[in-house]
C-alpha cells in the first residue's frame, strides 16, 4: 500500500537521482541536486522535522525512514485503556506528509550510519546518502530491570502499554475482565521516561472506571520514585474521589521509600516483588519498564550511557555534526521526554539546518513544554515550562509553573478542556 514506486521517486527527486540508482546513489549525484535531509523515525520528532523543514525550504529533499506504515499517538492512549477513546482516533498515516509536504517515506528500519561517507543503511539492504541526518527513533525498554519480565511477556499477558498499540487494547480488555474486587498493579519506572505524569493519569482513569463497574476493586501503584510531577494534584484527587489513605481506598500509591520499587515478576503466581521483599498479587499486572535510547542510537555510537548527548545550540550529536538527535533518545535533561518537547526540538534542528544551507548564522534556540494531564474527564492539570539556551556545552535552563490542587471546580474543568483541545491541535500540528 505505502510502497514507493519508481514513478513516485522520479516525481520527488527527478530522474537524475534515479539514474545512479537512488537507493545506492553516490553522494556526488546528490550534490548536484538540493540537499537531502534524511530522518530516522516517523514519530512526533521525525514527522515534525519533515513538516517544519518543508515549511522552511521548498527545495530540499526530505526522506523519513520508518518501519511502521502508520503512527499511533501516545497522548490520549490512557483514554483508550479506560475505554473512552479508540486507537483509531490516535492513528495517523504518512499520506499528508507525502502529498502536502513532498516527503519521501520509506517503510523500512534504519540499521547503520556510515559516518565517513554520509550514508544510511536500511534493513532491507538499501543505502541512502544524506547531507543531514536527523535521528528520532524513540526509546527502548529495559525489560531486564524487572527479573522475570521480557518483551515477549509485554506482548502477551503482561502488557506494558507504553507505546500506544496492541498492548493498549490488551490492557483495556484485561481491566474490563477484572474479577469483582480484583487488583490492578501498576509499576511506575525510575526517571527519565516518556510522559512523566502518565502512570498516575492511567491509575486515575482505571480507578474511575472501576468505581462504576467494579467498586470493590483496587489499583496499587508500585513506584520506583518518591515523587512525581503533579504529585499534589493526584494525591488530592485520589483522597477526594477514591478514599486514599482509608481502609477502603480504591487507589494506593507506594513510593520507593515505602518499598514500591518493583524488582521481580512471577508470572505463574501473578505477583510482583519489590526491593524490600514485599510481594503484591495482581489480577492485572502493568509493568512500565525503565527506558533507554532506541537501539539504533546505541548501536551507532550516539549514546553515552543510556541517552545520546548533543550540542545544545542545534541538537547536533557529539559524535558527528551532520547527525542530529531529538526526541526521547536525547540526553536532554532537564527537558522531560514528551511529544511537545520532541516537536520543538525538531523546530530547533530544522532552523539550524536551514541556516547552514543558506549561509546564515544559527540562531539562539528556545524550547517550551506546555503539557497537560488529567485525573478525570473534568479534572485537568497543566505545566508550562520554558528552556533557555545556556551555552553549547551546557544543559538548557528551566523555568516552570504548574497546577496546584485547587478547590475551584471551574479551573479543574477548564484545564481538562485545555488538555483535550491540546491533544487534537497537537496531532494536527505534527501530521497535517
Amino acid at each position: 500500500m505505502n510502497k514507493i514506486t519508481r514513478r513516485d521517486l522520479i516525481k520527488l527527486f527527478g530522474a537524475g537521482a534515479l539514474s545512479t540508482g537512488l537507493m545506492g546513489a553516490s553522494s556526488l549525484a546528490f550534490a548536484k541536486q538540493s540537499a537531502h535531509i534524511v530522518i530516522v523515525g516517523g514519530g512526533v520528532g521525525g514527522a515534525a522535522s519533515a513538516k517544519y523543514m518543508r515549511l522552511l525550504n521548498p527545495d530540499v529533499r526530505i526522506t523519513i525512514v520508518e518501519p511502521e506504515p502508520k503512527y499511533i499517538f501516545c497522548p490520549g492512549s490512557n483514554e483508550v485503556v479506560a475505554g473512552f477513546d479508540t486507537l483509531e482516533t490516535l492513528t495517523v498515516d504518512y499520506n499528508t506528509l507525502k502529498s502536502r509536504y513532498a516527503v519521501n517515506v520509506i517503510q523500512d528500519r534504519a540499521t547503520e550510519i556510515d559516518y565517513a561517507n554520509k550514508k544510511l543503511k536500511l534493513a532491507k539492504g538499501d543505502v541512502l546518502s544524506y547531507d543531514k541526518l536527523i535521528v528520532s527513533p524513540g526509546p527502548d525498554f529495559k525489560y531486564g530491570a524487572v527479573e522475570g519480565y521480557s518483551k515477549q511477556l509485554a506482548e502477551g499477558d503482561f502488557p506494558a502499554a507504553w507505546h500506544a498499540g496492541p498492548q493498549t487494547l490488551t490492557l483495556r480488555d484485561q481491566i474490563n475482565a477484572l474479577p469483582q474486587g480484583g487488583t490492578v498493579l501498576i509499576s511506575s519506572p525510575v526517571d527519565p521516561y516518556r510522559c512523566p505524569p502518565a502512570p498516575y493519569e492511567r491509575a486515575s482513569f482505571v480507578a474511575n472506571k472501576l468505581k462504576e463497574t467494579n467498586p470493590t476493586a483496587k489499583v496499587i501503584i508500585l513506584d520506583s520514585k518518591d515523587d512525581f510531577i503533579f504529585h499534589d494534584v493526584y494525591l488530592d484527587y485520589w483522597k477526594k474521589e477514591h478514599g486514599l489513605g482509608t481502609a477502603d481506598a480504591r487507589i494506593e500509591w507506594v513510593p520507593k521509600k515505602a518499598g514500591g520499587h518493583v524488582t521481580k515478576l512471577d508470572t505463574k503466581n501473578r505477583t510482583l516483588t519489590t526491593a524490600d521483599g514485599q510481594v503484591h498479587k495482581g489480577d492485572v499486572i502493568n509493568i512500565i519498564p525503565p527506558e533507554m535510547a532506541g537501539s539504533f542510537v546505541r548501536m551507532n555510537g550516539l549514546a553515552k550511557g543510556d541517552w545520546a548527548p548533543f550540542n545544545s545550540q542545534d541538537f547536533s550529536t557529539k559524535r558527528d555534526k551532520d547527525v542530529y538527535i531529538i526526541g526521547d533518545s536525547a540526553a536532554a535533561d532537564p527537558m522531560p521526554k514528551t511529544g511537545y518537547i520532541a516537536s520543538n526540538q525538531a523546530k530547533v534542528v530544522t532552523k539550524a539546518i536551514q541556516a547552514e544551507l543558506t549561509g546564515k548564522e544559527i540562531g539562539t534556540p528556545f524550547i517550551t513544554n506546555n503539557c497537560v494531564a488529567m485525573a478525570a474527564d473534568d479534572w485537568g492539570m497543566t505545566v508550562a515550562e520554558t528552556f533557555r539556551y545556556a551555552g553549547n556545552h551546557h544543559a538548557y535552563e528551566e523555568s516552570y509553573v504548574m497546577s496546584d490542587p485547587t478547590e475551584n471546580p471551574y479551573y479543574r474543568h477548564i484545564r481538562a478542556e485545555v488538555a483535550k483541545n491540546w491533544q487534537r491541535t497537537f496531532r494536527k500540528d505534527i501530521f497535517s
Binding site: 513516485d8 517544519y52 515549511l55 528556545f366 515550562e385 496546584d404
Partner: protein
C-alpha cells in the same frame, strides 16, 4: 513583581534574574523560533481555530503585545497563559507579535481532520 494566582503556587527552575542574565548573554531567539513554540496549542503558524485556544495568525501586533504583557503581569485570571508568558521580555513579545501578524489568518487544514486524511489517502493512492 510577578504575582501568581493562588491556584498556581508551584513554580521552579531559574529565577527571573537568572532568566534576564541568560537573555543578556546570547542573541535573542528569532520571532520564528519563539512563535513556532506556540504551535502545539495554537496550531501551525498560529492558525488553528478551536474552542479553548484562539488563533494567533494575523493577530494585530499591538493587540498581541498588550495581551501578552497583561498575561505576564497577571492582570486577570488565566488557565495557562500567565504561566507561559511570565518568562518573556518586551523584545521577545514584540518579535512574536511580528511573527504572528505576518501569518495568514487561514485555517491550516480542513475542519474535519480525519475526513481530510481519508480524502488525501484516496487522492494520493499510489497503487
Amino acid at each position: 513583581m510577578l504575582q501568581a494566582p493562588a491556584s498556581f503556587a508551584i513554580s521552579g527552575g531559574i529565577t527571573a534574574e537568572e532568566n534576564d542574565k541568560l537573555r543578556s548573554e546570547y542573541p535573542m531567539p528569532s520571532g520564528d523560533m519563539l512563535g513556532d513554540n506556540c504551535s502545539a496549542c495554537h496550531g501551525t503558524k498560529g492558525a488553528e481555530f478551536n474552542e479553548a485556544m484562539p488563533p494567533l495568525a494575523g493577530m494585530d501586533k499591538a493587540k498581541f503585545i498588550k495581551l501578552m504583557k497583561d498575561y505576564r503581569a497577571n492582570k486577570f485570571p488565566s488557565i495557562v497563559m500567565h504561566d507561559v508568558a511570565h518568562v518573556f521580555s518586551d523584545q521577545e513579545i514584540e518579535a512574536m507579535a511580528d511573527f504572528f501578524a505576518k501569518q495568514k489568518p487561514e485555517e491550516w487544514t480542513r475542519p474535519d481532520w480525519n475526513a481530510s486524511i481519508k480524502a488525501n489517502t484516496k487522492e494520493n493512492s499510489h497503487e
